[in-house]
């Protein structure tokens, strides 16, 4: 990040671009001017991505923090900027500001069982946390990945998820909201999977990322199995224009999502979470 002017993007080049699902795609970026240090970041942090002449959007980083030589973003094409982003080809240039925000407490979680609950694109900001845990897999107990999507076609990174199960002993449970008959897996909301896992609740950390309603009901289920709010972390989304606490858009009660979040320990936002229009 530009140390003097945090509003100034740096130009990056697209190394690879891949479509994950019908409307989700992944970009792999590198600094235009080389830059040996790569792009160090912490899992859960985000960047502001700029498309020339179009605009800028906050997108979480979804690559491997232990391999910072390439910068990876997975995003859904839903708005003007992201729709243009997904049309960029290898060699094309775009702007990047970041990394910004707080991260999943991967190191503090060592020695614990881990429960990751995500919905849809919510897996993207959690993938760096998984990668970092894989690098020191022996330091963690069980790792559960509970993952839900709208349909089988909306499931992200499924090739990788299959590998993780065996290579890193990840207990994976996948579910979809609706599917055709050829789907052999679970159907239903992801929150229902929480009650079916077996962990030691007082030595468990839960990381949740998805729509707020999903995170809210995940907390209800976690309470049922004994995981306390101060062992639960969630990632919040709000409108952002600056990412450095100046523009005011991302305020959430006393917090700025851009700098106090996006990752929050749940007990710190519990009193406002789920309230309408905060």
């Amino acid at each position: 990040m530009n140390p003097v002017n945090p509003m100034l993007p740096e130009v990056f080049k697209i190394r690879r671009s891949a479509q994950n699902t019908e409307d989700v795609f992944t970009l792999e970026l590198e600094r235009k001017n080389g830059g040996g240090a790569g792009f160090p970041f912490k899992p859960g942090q985000f960047n502001m991505l700029y498309v020339f002449g179009v605009g800028e959007v906050p997108i979480s980083i979804s690559g491997d923090p232990t391999r910072p030589h390439s910068l990876v973003h997975t995003t859904r094409a839903v708005g003007t900027v992201t729709r243009t982003l997904c049309q960029l080809k290898p060699g094309d240039e775009m702007g990047v500001r970041g990394p910004f925000g707080t991260s999943w407490p991967v190191e503090e979680a060592e020695g614990n069982d881990i429960v990751i609950v995500t919905g849809g694109i919510g897996l993207a900001p959690l993938r760096p946390a998984l990668y970092q845990m894989f690098a020191r897999r022996e330091r963690y107990g069980k790792i559960y990945l509970l993952y839900g999507a709208r349909s089988p076609g909306d499931l992200l990174y499924m090739d990788e998820v299959g590998l993780w199960q065996h290579q890193y002993r990840i207990e994976t449970r996948v579910t979809v909201d609706a599917a055709r008959r050829d789907w052999k897996g679970n159907v239903g909301v992801v929150t229902h999977l929480v009650g079916k896992i077996s962990i030691d609740p007082v030595h468990t950390m839960a990381f949740i990322c998805g729509p707020e309603i999903m995170m809210r009901f995940t907390r209800v289920e976690l309470t049922r199995i004994g995981v306390s709010p101060d062992r639960t972390f969630i990632s919040m989304e709000r409108n952002m224009k600056c990412a450095v606490g100046f523009c005011g858009h991302c305020q959430y009660g006393p917090h700025f999502i851009c700098k106090d979040g996006p990752v929050f320990r749940f007990d710190r936002i519990q009193n406002i979470f789920g309230r309408r229009e905060i």
Partner: protein, 383 residues
């Protein structure tokens, strides 16, 4: 060594007829001077050439949704409260270019906007406005990031404060502990005294550049009598505040009353016009706008003032998160009086009263806070 002991005065008396000499001294030292002036039937801030540009002989009548200029029966230079402008328009400009980008044969390059504004002097900064300056300093300069736009304008700023001789109808600086006397954060402070046919300013220096400026002015030594008269001016203003706000435990009172029925009541009146945020000297929200020229080869990013009262402000893919007027007024008021403490260690309100005066409905922040205090509904922590 103390400045007075070196023989440099830190407090002098300047004849009202010599006020022009202060403007001259500022300009000679390389400052562009900005201050209050009459325009469009209001006292606004603009560039000053001479003391004749000041609203001499004018005062302002203010109440909820009401602002009128009136002739005074004397020739006071600063016999009014504050108008719709605040100094933030110079340090945090309403529109500013942040950078531009130019297409290249392959890709594009980004060019930083390196504005080098001329040094500014603000003449006529009220105590509440000094407090607001301090608050915006905390927002833009004292966090983990520094805003280069604000920094370049704030560095080298010369502040001439004016202690208030008139309390406006919507003023409540005494409640907010920010005025009416400027205590620190200025280079020079003036108290205007009109007494027994005598018209002068008691001028105090609050910084080294202030002391140097003082030495350039024609002066009489400040006697006890001058100091007493100046103190009486400020005391009189303090005793005539148009509004009061009880700040005792206010942050937690509001945080605990997010579902109070009063928010519904105020929402019936609030037009969500954003006037209060535009006139507020501490409101700092902004948005960015990317513009391109017709060729599509040149793009610019501009930063513009924004307001939490618009629907776009909280817009994400699912829609606007604060779609009701109730939630937008609540966001503004609880930010100002409650969550600002969590974020920046002080209230976001300085008691200048602008939001009350310039609200087309005359919605009064002090009245809203009072209504909740008088009938609190402890809503607790659960949704």
């Amino acid at each position: 060594m103390d400045a007075t002991r070196r023989g440099i005065q830190t407090e002098i008396v300047l004849a009202a007829t010599d006020l022009d000499r202060l403007l001259l001294a500022l300009k000679e030292t390389g400052y562009r001077v900005y201050g209050p002036t009459v325009e469009d039937q209001a006292i606004v801030y603009g560039e000053l050439d001479t003391a004749a540009d000041l609203p001499r002989g004018w005062t302002d009548e203010q109440d909820g949704g009401i602002y009128r200029l009136k002739k005074r029966d004397d020739a006071a230079f600063f016999g009014f409260a504050v108008g719709p402008h605040s100094w933030k328009k110079y340090l945090f400009p309403p529109e500013v270019k942040l950078w531009s980008a130019h297409a290249k044969a392959k890709g594009f390059e980004i060019e930083e906007e390196t504005a080098n504004p001329q040094k500014m002097a603000f003449l006529g900064v009220r105590a509440c406005e000094l407090a607001a300056l301090g608050i915006q300093d905390r927002v833009f300069l004292q966090g983990s990031f520094v805003d280069p736009v604000y920094r370049s304008r704030r560095d080298g700023l010369f502040v001439v404060a004016v202690n208030c001789s008139v309390a406006g109808g919507t003023c409540f600086c005494v409640s907010m502990n920010t005025g009416p006397k400027a205590e620190s954060g200025f280079d020079l402070s003036l108290t205007e005294v009109l007494k027994n046919g005598d018209h002068y300013f008691l001028v105090s220096a609050g910084s080294e550049p202030g002391r140097e400026m003082l030495a350039r002015l024609p002066q009489r030594p400040a006697e006890t009598e001058h100091r007493q008269s100046a103190a009486a001016v400020v005391e009189n203003t303090a005793a005539h505040m148009g509004r009061t706000l009880n700040t005792e435990g206010l942050p937690s009172l509001l945080a605990g009353n997010l579902d109070h029925p009063r928010w519904d009541e105020v929402a019936k009146r609030c037009l969500t016009c954003a006037n209060c945020t535009m006139v507020c000297p501490t409101c700092f929200c902004s948005t960015v706008e990317d513009v391109t020229d017709l060729s599509g080869d040149h793009a610019e990013r501009w930063r513009k003032w924004d307001s939490c009262f618009t629907m776009e402000f909280s817009y994400i893919a699912q829609g606007s998160l604060r779609s009701s007027a109730r939630s937008r007024y609540r966001q503004w008021m609880t930010h100002k009086l409650s969550t600002w403490h969590d974020q920046f260690g002080s209230s976001g309100c300085v008691g200048c009263g602008r939001c009350i005066t310039w609200c087309p409905e005359g919605i009064d922040i002090t009245e809203e806070a009072k209504a909740i205090r008088e009938a609190p509904q402890k809503t607790g922590g659960k949704p």
